[in-house]
């Protein structure tokens, strides 16, 4: 509608459209969850607001994460990456990305199959418990075991007597360490039940259980 038809115009300036910058808060994407779809193919559920994903790999527990592949978000419910090597031990994780930054990495996942010929880990060799070597007190102790090759981490459990394990020490992943200190424990009726197993990809060891009598 021209409500003022008598326009005197030598020229019009070209002015790019200007919109006031808005400061709506944006968040990094939620943490994705990685899983094996088939042998050699990984997949994860699409994460809201993610614009791309980075699949990362490291060759061993002490390796360095490096980007394996980066893909744009497809808009599908799931994203997949094919041809993921399973012939040697490796860890994989995925990171969702948008303009704000990176999500927390997914929990790492091992190669889909154990390298050919691999065997289960040996159970940990416990250093004998004693008030000296384990420093056993009335409310705690330090468990110690011998380092073993091929192990990538250890899982431990702890509970009072023969009852259920304490929730915070039930199937606890303590990483690749060779001693663990408990402190501030409640006194059990007779002893603490300490259990440990060594872990290799797809080949965990049997568990070793030690009963620890509290010190004075």
């Amino acid at each position: 509608m021209n409500i003022a038809p008598q326009v005197f115009q030598v020229r019009e300036a070209y002015e790019p459209r200007y919109s006031c910058p808005t400061l709506d808060v944006e968040f990094v994407p939620a943490q994705p969850s990685l899983s094996w779809a088939f042998v050699g193919q990984v997949r994860w559920g699409a994460v809201d607001t993610a614009t791309s994903y980075r699949l990362q790999r490291k060759s061993g527990p002490s390796g360095i994460w490096t980007d394996l592949v980066s893909i744009e978000a497809s808009g599908e419910d799931y994203e997949t990456v094919d041809d993921v090597s399973i012939t040697e031990l490796a860890f994989y994780r995925v990171i969702a990305t948008n303009s704000v930054g990176d999500s927390l990495p997914s929990h790492p996942m091992f190669t889909a199959a154990a390298p050919e010929g691999d065997v289960a880990a040996d159970p940990p060799v416990i250093i004998p418990d004693s008030e000296v070597s384990w420093n056993i007190t009335a409310d705690g102790f330090t468990a110690r075991w011998v380092p073993a090759s091929g192990v990538i981490n250890y899982f431990i459990d702890l509970g009072p007597d023969n009852e259920a394990f304490y929730a915070e020490f039930n199937d606890l992943d303590i990483g690749l360490v060779h001693e663990y200190t408990f402190s501030g424990l409640a006194a059990p009726a007779s002893f603490w039940t300490f259990r440990i197993r060594a872990n290799k990809p797809f080949a965990p060891s049997d568990s070793v259980t030690v009963l620890v009598t509290p010190g004075a």
Partner: protein, 674 residues
């Protein structure tokens, strides 16, 4: 070398913008056009800032209302898709108001702030009550609702407030429009409309207007004969109702209780009706109209449209003007119009006193056109004694947001915005041909990194041609980032001497002031002719170096900028050119002449396919607080330079990154975030 002898310019810009007149004919202190500026005090300044207050839910933005309680701070009520939301000082969050809802698909919600002072008993007797405030809402479809400060209540039943659209509270009655019908409620009780059934107007219980009622408002000022009547508009007419006569029994017998005062001038949008500087302003089919009741005691006479100066914007308005929204703030009148858009992309700013001086008569003027937001409706509220102006904006990204206008920092959410002005045509006192040399300019109020682009063009032809792109750095604040200050360091203001603190680092903090510059552009004589010059295509054709655009009878100048700045003076320097002492023989044009909208010209149309020059920048900035970090991304298109685009994109990215990281950092309660 002698200074060029032709000089002309402006040292004051108080008479405002006039885009309808020939720039050649504008007098001193006027300018042709300005964008995102103000001329308050005579200098051209970048406008105050806009600040996002809240991002609201998606849906049709139906209105922005204010509830004024009898005590306490007002409540701002954005209405979106039938839901009414409420936000109060400090306006950091909002919540949906409980109770009834409106129709989600209505384009608009109308309101009236009322006071209920009586209640009708079941036996129709009246009971005086402690007056209470009620905000009535109508959507044209649903039953009316009222908000009492707590919940929304629907009004239904016999002899209750009728369903309708436009409302007004005048003469202690609620007036409700439904189509061309106008109903008057019971005195003192906006929830009942019983009186009209026992005291009818010649057999009918309502008034009828020539067309659907579009707006209503009490006329400000005291008029001897009619005393604060209710002005009632249709799209094509304006009527008065003497709502001040409280005794309803008198209405049928009062002469001119209903009178048509402007049979051919109506109002297109109820949101455009504003009481400003003692006058009633509204937007009609043909532009802005104002009624000064003090001057029009008989409410008749000449009515002029007062927005012709905004022709550059008004010549390209959408057909649907029903959402034009106005507001007043201090001496400013803002009118948001749908320029080249369905939304109100342009806001016209009128300053009723461009120089607040008691002892000097200063003109009112259209100051500028503001952009950046698309106001749906304004709300002015007084919080802690200070009036603040908010608006609901239907933003370009599809979101609805609540903004506050007139923030002090002259930036939009902390980011520089583009502004521009075009001068009148400087003739140097005569219409003789002259050759442009350069422009001298004085700036003030520089703050931060300010990018400018000066362009020139002949008054009769040619596009804007840049001839200077200065950048000024005027450091803001009062501390240097690399210097350590202690908690005991004191701040000093103004020029007084501060005292050093014994227990601090001994520093007194002095504020930095905004800065000024006096500079000149390049000399046009040293610059190449424009690739798309208009010389030889339009403008003068007789032989005074007709192939040179820099020769014209007058010259205009355009200043584009980003960053807080004020233009205090523009002064043109030009050389005289000898006029030929002969006439000329006509020379019929045989080739086609093409001139693009921006003045670029050629005899080959293909030459004009090249897009006007702009610069785009996308920047990503990461903000880090302890272990928390977040990115922000800003993309900006600049008409000044790549450096300007980079600066503004970085500012936007920084502001977004800071907002993003602030949202994930937990509240600090001591200790370390690391």
């Amino acid at each position: 070398m002698a200074v060029p002898i032709v000089q002309d310019g402006d040292t004051r810009f108080a008479k405002g913008m006039d885009s309808v007149s020939d720039p050649f004919t504008l007098g001193p202190e006027s300018y042709v056009y300005s964008l995102n500026m103000l001329n308050r005090g005579g200098a051209m300044k970048s406008r105050p800032g806009h600040r996002v207050v809240l991002t609201l839910p998606d849906g049709i933005p139906q209105g922005l209302k204010v509830f004024h309680p009898r005590k306490g701070n007002p409540v701002i009520l954005p209405i979106i898709a039938g839901k009414v939301y409420a936000t109060k000082k400090p306006f950091t969050d909002y919540a949906q108001v409980a109770g009834a809802e409106l129709y989600a698909k209505s384009e608009q919600v109308w309101h009236a702030m009322t006071t209920q002072s009586v209640e009708r008993n079941p036996d129709d007797s009246l009971k005086l009550i402690t007056p209470r405030k009620l905000l009535f809402l109508q959507d044209g479809v649903s039953p009316p609702l009222y908000y009492d400060g707590h919940v929304l209540t629907a009004v239904t039943g016999a002899n209750k407030t009728p369903q309708g659209t436009v409302m007004a509270f005048a003469g202690s009655r609620l007036w409700v429009a439904n189509g061309e019908r106008l109903y008057a409620g019971d005195i003192g009780d906006p929830t009942t409309f019983l009186e009209q059934t026992v005291n009818q107007l010649g057999g009918i219980s309502y008034y009828i207007l020539p067309d659907s009622i579009t707006a209503m408002a009490p006329l400000p000022g005291a008029v001897s004969q009619t005393k604060n009547p209710l002005v009632c508009y249709t799209r094509t007419s304006t009527s008065l109702f003497r709502s001040n006569i409280l005794n309803r029994n008198l209405w049928p017998t009062i002469e001119d209780f209903q009178s048509d005062i402007f049979p051919n001038i109506g109002c297109v949008s109820d949101r455009s009706v504003v009481n400003h500087s003692g006058m009633l302003w509204w937007f009609s089919d043909f532009g802005t109209v104002r009624l000064d009741s003090a001057h029009n005691s008989n409410v008749s006479g000449r009515m002029d449209y007062v927005d012709r100066e905004m022709t550059r914007s008004s010549s390209n308005l959408n057909e649907d003007l029903s959402k034009v929204a106005s507001a007043h703030y201090e001496n400013f009148l803002l009118t948001s119009v749908p320029h080249a858009n369905l939304k109100n992309e342009h806001t016209w700013v009128y300053d009723s006193n461009t120089n607040d001086r008691l002892n000097e008569e200063f003109p009112s003027a259209w100051a500028s056109i503001w952009t950046g937001i698309n106001p749906v409706e304004y709300a002015s509220v007084k919080v802690n004694g200070r009036t603040r102006l908010f608006c609901l904006s239907a933003d370009d990204d599809g979101k609805n947001r609540l903004y506050e206008l007139f923030t002090d920092d002259r930036r939009d959410n902390g980011c520089d915005f583009p502004w521009a002005m075009e001068s009148r045509a400087y003739t140097g006192g005569n219409a003789s041909p002259k050759e442009l040399r350069f422009l001298e300019y004085a700036l003030s109020e520089l703050a931060g990194e300010v990018h400018l682009k000066f362009s020139w063009a002949g008054a009769s032809r040619g596009r804007w041609k840049s001839f200077s792109k200065p950048i000024f750095h005027a450091v803001e604040g009062n501390v240097v980032a690399t210097q350590e200050y202690g908690a005991e360091d004191g701040a000093a203001s103004g020029s007084g001497s501060g005292s050093s603190s014994a227990s601090g680092s001994g520093n007194t903090l002095f504020a930095f002031k905004t800065q000024s510059r006096l500079a000149r552009t390049q000399d046009v004589r040293d610059m190449d002719e424009d690739d798309l010059t208009a010389s030889g295509v339009e403008g003068q054709v007789y032989q005074v170096e007709a192939e040179k655009e820099a020769i014209d009878s007058a010259f205009q100048f355009r200043v584009d900028g980003s960053g807080p700045c004020a233009i205090r003076m523009l002064r043109m320097f030009a050389d005289m050119v000898s006029d030929p002492d002969t006439g000329m023989q006509e020379n019929p044009e045989v080739a086609d002449h093409f001139v693009r909208f921006d003045g670029a010209a050629s005899k080959d149309e293909a030459d004009l396919d090249e897009a006007p020059e702009t610069w785009t920048a996308t920047k990503t900035v990461r903000a880090q607080i302890g272990n928390y970090g977040a990115n922000g991304v800003g993309t900006v298109i600049s008409s000044i330079s790549q450096l300007d685009a980079d600066k503004r994109a970085t500012q936007v990215a920084s502001a977004k990154a800071e907002a993003n990281v602030a949202a994930v950092v937990p509240d600090y309660v001591g200790g370390s975030l690391v």
